[in-house]
Symmetry: C2
Subunit: 194 residues, 2 copies
């Protein structure tokens, strides 16, 4: 055979995620990516394809990790109310610098690319649907456990919680008064998880 790769694809891809997450697609140049990863352009192109393919690989990786994180957050507490309180707490006051500074990579892509590229519309929509399914499952469990009444529409409320999380995430980008975020979170939780 031949020479071995000198870099770890997973590690490099994570650095690509962080950069696209922070700056978006258009504002990130291939030069930015070479300096961030330490690789030269031919290595990046050989390993991932062109800029768009690289972005897509990064987004897929992010979505996978993000979904896992959301699921984990929802399983930590006994009640759905506590679970979603923890989830909104994570979204609005995470220690993770990327989460608070740059929001959600998938949401950023929904705004920047989904309206102009059907492939990214599909990719981001599927992630939202997946989150919605996670939320629904958690709410259905709460119905079984008698936390919520049996006529509670788990799916509709799950979708609304996703939309609320989405709105809060975008709102955070303008550095609003924390009381705004607090009040909104409290109303969402108390109104949607009665």
């Amino acid at each position: 055979m031949a020479r071995k790769r000198e870099f770890d694809e997973e590690h490099v891809l994570q650095q690509v995620v962080n950069l696209f997450w922070q700056k978006g697609y258009e504002a990130t140049s291939m030069s930015d990516l070479t300096t961030a990863t330490g690789l030269q352009k031919p290595s990046l192109y050989a390993a991932f394809g062109d800029k768009q393919a690289l972005f897509e690989a990064a987004l897929r990786r992010y979505n996978h990790q993000h979904a896992q994180r959301m699921d984990r957050l929802l399983q930590q507490d006994k009640t759905a109310r506590q679970s979603f309180a923890r989830l909104f707490q994570y979204v609005t006051q995470s220690d993770d610098q990327h989460q608070t500074e740059y929001g959600c990579f998938c949401i950023n892509t929904m705004v920047e690319l989904a309206p102009h590229d059907e492939r990214f519309a599909v990719l981001t929509r599927e992630h939202q649907m997946y989150l919605s399914a996670l939320f629904t499952r958690r709410l259905e469990r709460a119905i079984v456990e008698k936390e919520l009444s049996s006529d509670y529409d788990a799916q509709a409320h799950a979708q609304t919680l996703v939309a609320g999380m989405l709105g809060l995430t975008v709102m955070l980008k303008t550095n609003p008064d924390p009381t705004f975020i607090h009040a909104t979170t409290n109303i969402l939780l108390s109104s949607l998880l009665p």
Copy 2:
């Protein structure tokens, strides 16, 4: 004096709004703007300054018009419930092609520029605060008119409605199943305007 301008600044600026609204800041080139407006670059630079100043002028124009439209929508119906139903209807099913295709120019800017440019963070935050104030006023009127109970927290609910509208607007960019949008809208209205 001297020669007169051959173009109408307001008309040109509206075309600039439409282009930045559709494509965002980075993806819109000065060449795109000259072809869309019919002006040459020196004319654009003389009238509005550089690309960033032109974008800011466009966003200010949009925000002004958007705020007026939101206020008008909220005054058309007798009840707050009907008013916000009409507002969400406008956001999710407007005839206006720009509204449905490209969402909200201000929200797009919150995602693309606010995290990296404090000036746009301020500009977009102030618009959200203004909308929140409009919503609050409408809800307070509903309290006076006995539609809502006197212990209803108008401001907190207004902020939550803004966040919900924001989330729905971003969600729409992925072309989700209309039943998703319908369900979310209904839950938001029934939960936040009891």
